[in-house]
Symmetry: C2
Subunit: 630 residues, 2 copies
Amino acid sequence: MRSYQPVNFSEVEITGAFWRERLDCILTQTIPSQFRMLGQHGILNSLKLPRPVPPLTIPENRHGFSTQIFWDSDIGKWIEAASYALSFRRDAETEARIEAITDDLEAAQDADGYLNCWYLGREPENRWTNLRDNHELYCAGHMLEGAVAYFHATGRDRLLRIMERYVAHIATVFGPGEGQRRGYPGHQEIEIALIRLYHARGGTEHLDLARYFIDERGRQPHYFDAEARARGEAPSDFWAGTYEYNQSHLPVRDQTKVVGHAVRAMYMYAAMADLAAEDGDAALLSACETLWEDITTKRMYVTGGFGPSASNEGFTTDFDLPNDTAYAETCASVAMVFWAARMLNIDLDGRYGDILEQALFNNVLAGLSLDGERYFYDNKLESDGSHERWEWHPCPCCTMNVSRLLASIGGYVFSTGDRELAVHLYGGTRANVTLGGVPVGVDEVSGYPFDGAVRITISPETPVDFTLYLRVPGWAKGAALRINGVSVPLEVEKGYARLGRTWIAGDVVELTLPMHPERVYADPRVRQALGRVALRRGPVVYCIEDHDHDVSVAQMRLPRDADLQTEPHDALVPGMTAITAEAAVSRPPHSGMPLYSVEPPVTTPALMTAIPYYLWANRGPNRMSVWIRE
Amino acid sequence: MRSYQPVNFSEVEITGAFWRERLDCILTQTIPSQFRMLGQHGILNSLKLPRPVPPLTIPENRHGFSTQIFWDSDIGKWIEAASYALSFRRDAETEARIEAITDDLEAAQDADGYLNCWYLGREPENRWTNLRDNHELYCAGHMLEGAVAYFHATGRDRLLRIMERYVAHIATVFGPGEGQRRGYPGHQEIEIALIRLYHARGGTEHLDLARYFIDERGRQPHYFDAEARARGEAPSDFWAGTYEYNQSHLPVRDQTKVVGHAVRAMYMYAAMADLAAEDGDAALLSACETLWEDITTKRMYVTGGFGPSASNEGFTTDFDLPNDTAYAETCASVAMVFWAARMLNIDLDGRYGDILEQALFNNVLAGLSLDGERYFYDNKLESDGSHERWEWHPCPCCTMNVSRLLASIGGYVFSTGDRELAVHLYGGTRANVTLGGVPVGVDEVSGYPFDGAVRITISPETPVDFTLYLRVPGWAKGAALRINGVSVPLEVEKGYARLGRTWIAGDVVELTLPMHPERVYADPRVRQALGRVALRRGPVVYCIEDHDHDVSVAQMRLPRDADLQTEPHDALVPGMTAITAEAAVSRPPHSGMPLYSVEPPVTTPALMTAIPYYLWANRGPNRMSVWIRE
């Protein structure tokens, strides 16, 4: 069912300044610093079995749960990100680090293949007794993804073979057969990893196991009920209160609302899309489409974040999108990019590309500081000045999720069919692909996302017929197209301009995506955005920070008729564009205004400077707002 | 230093419909139902020692703390409220209940006088080892207040004598003397109770102990540090993170900001005012005035609630007053009434009366349902429909705080000096006081708070010179005065009209407080109220609820020029006045509006009906808002 094949990031050269800067930062700062942090916080050491293991460094929460339980996954994600770095440039030190981790895992692995270092070290008698809460399969999934990435980058397969043994063990434990446990992950992730393993090494049993986990989920009698009883607990004592939390409240094909823990949901939907593509499973794809419609029309921030609540790290009710308490976990938007890319390769539709871009340029990028070493776990849309980036977190999942996505960002730019080349993202990338059997060079040059002039040079070895699909974002009004300097009518179908012809070396396509600062409004059922306006230019959502003002941005107001201007603002990132306007600031009517008064505040003019949301809090914490009062 | 003496509630007859209804409800529904709840939830049984005691019914929180630890206080507050009911009408059943509780306390009391049923039953070896967290002195205070009230109502002093023995024991344990502990309560309350005991029975040692607790608080070396070390804990591990939580971060006279747990703060300030009055302590009074200024100009909701944060049940930062997550605990506003009344009797200033009224008619009354048997602990100013009144609470402090205040509401109406009579609240009350040695009847008739026409008949036995002070609320613009039918100029000084003359029987004073629906605005630094307006009529703050509309109130907008009307709205309370206006509702510009769009919402007209805030959620949970977009 998959129509398009993504062009792997390792085949894509990043040439544009915007992504080059972020990528260099990830490769040179973020990934090495993350390894240091994994060391400093005892995470690497946690693989060093046998027992006795040291006391917990992260205390249990009130549910008796320590986030140390998923340290294996953090290491797995770091291996994945570091392997992407190796794909760009082999590096003996990084490889030695991964080999040392592999040594530890090899020593820790049980004779039967089992390999979860928390359980092996701390409670070997309890393995597989609490899939609902304890992340065993999730950890296996992330380590497996890391092993696949390392194998791709280096050809070394020792870690991958260790993980294959573990996967083989898991396949004996779980399934519908006699004597097997009919369980599935409490935190989805391994499904994606198994499909990656299948793509890397073949073996339909991996696909079968992924399919089993997806199909079994939410069936009655409920596995997590039985598992709780076996632990001597009442199923109704589940701390989260509902199986919506882990999306096991219903079989996946019957799910129509995005609910519960946002990261779990996104990983599951991505796996569902993968499986729908592999199996040509129309019912599964249809469930994905329904869920997509639900989140994008009712449950998503303008920044591409979602899951507003800290209490379940996830979804609440339709149109409930609070700004100052927004959770909007970085990981969830990273996983949304995974899901959107999978949907896009099944069905080339700009609605997937638009959301991918919205999440990527806003909520995802906001998760990492400009210096590449500080993070946001939750991405608020309004701050009173108390919200700060942190250097590390008791649950460092988001750190490596950002680095593994951004290190492989080139993989989200192009997809190919037999005689189709689709371009989803712009910003300066070069690739060599094969279309109709002919090697074709593609060189896209642009200052995207701050400049909308995109120039693509096509260089087939010999003239070849194929169709070039260029995404025309939903925000782009009045886009224009020229081929070899000649204007051609731009016809956009499902978000893509379709250009079929016989391409010859040196053909140049110029797509102009006019970038004007725009006002964006929310559906009025989003009460937290009502009476307010957000600013957007191209794919980038803006915010206002106190740093650029001598008044409190909380008191600023942008009249509907104020003219929006743009100007360069190089203080943060070269080439960055700020949006400015003559705004107003609300002030007390006179100096003795009491806390409450029948006299309304007055407004005085103030110049407003808005910067890209993803760049906020890079000059220290301060007041910030995405939604500005009109 | 106290200039005025409040006229005790037992001397004041409530004749007006507004308070009569609430008082009857408290006496006939609330207080009896609270006794049933105390029984059903095992609270009464917790007094039945000796050990072994039953397992906890309220589990410990993550700090190892169960709210059962202050069950003694809940019983004490119930005794206090029930005793106020007995002051109106003796009742054998209620007295038998209190006598049975007294039997339990008598049996439980240790030979040395110690009497805390949690410690006696569960950890007798640990008494006085954790004043910081474990509410021992707080429990003693509430039980003592109950005992004083019961003694006043019935003349029975068995419970009071038990508590006097306990107080005598406490006085030996705590103090600056050799071998004494230099401790003080982690949760203030006993200071107020000790001063009440002093008023009831004399004995300067009670005043001395109260003064010691106030004076010792916050001194260095810090008692809670030493106490934590004695328990083998690091003082820095204090779960609340700061001694601001219990206002022991500084000596009380050095405190200038209201901080920490809101109820603790208010009880402490009330005790400070009491002590300042007793001792003529200008420094202590000055600290009260500074703290008063701080809370009323920076940290209070328009509803008279405060303490916005659930995490510390208290204060955050200046002007941080979120609506949908407002904590604004009922108990805190009840205690604000206590504090305000004490300040008013030291310094007859309408600013104290205005805040007393603001808290009382809004945040306090909101804490109790119309049927008198359901409660709000936290009083949000905006609800998405999920916030509901509850029948009981793991921490039922607010329930009995509302009943003890409202059962004694008559005590907040009048104060007297030698030849001064001050009237603070209106609504239909009658009292007999003595002024210049002459018995004087006062009969105040009004439909307050929904009608501002106040008629007061003065009936001295013989003509007598005295000054009548009538509070003219800050909101009352254009108030007018007539004496015996003749208009007289109204001169207001510090919030009171001052009428000095020789009064004779049948003199009639008519005060007209024009009640127009008004728009109220917050200081623009309150970002959560900016661009929004609240409605107020007289002392009553209004809100809009979905129940009165066929559109979502979250989408309503009240243009600044919309005319505000009033109309009777008898569905909830007879005589209640609603505020109506031609408002507008924001709707999508067309049916296919996506979640985010460059097209702003449109507005269509909608009739808005606002009801008093304190009456919200009496027709089931639903959307509600106090601050309405303009």
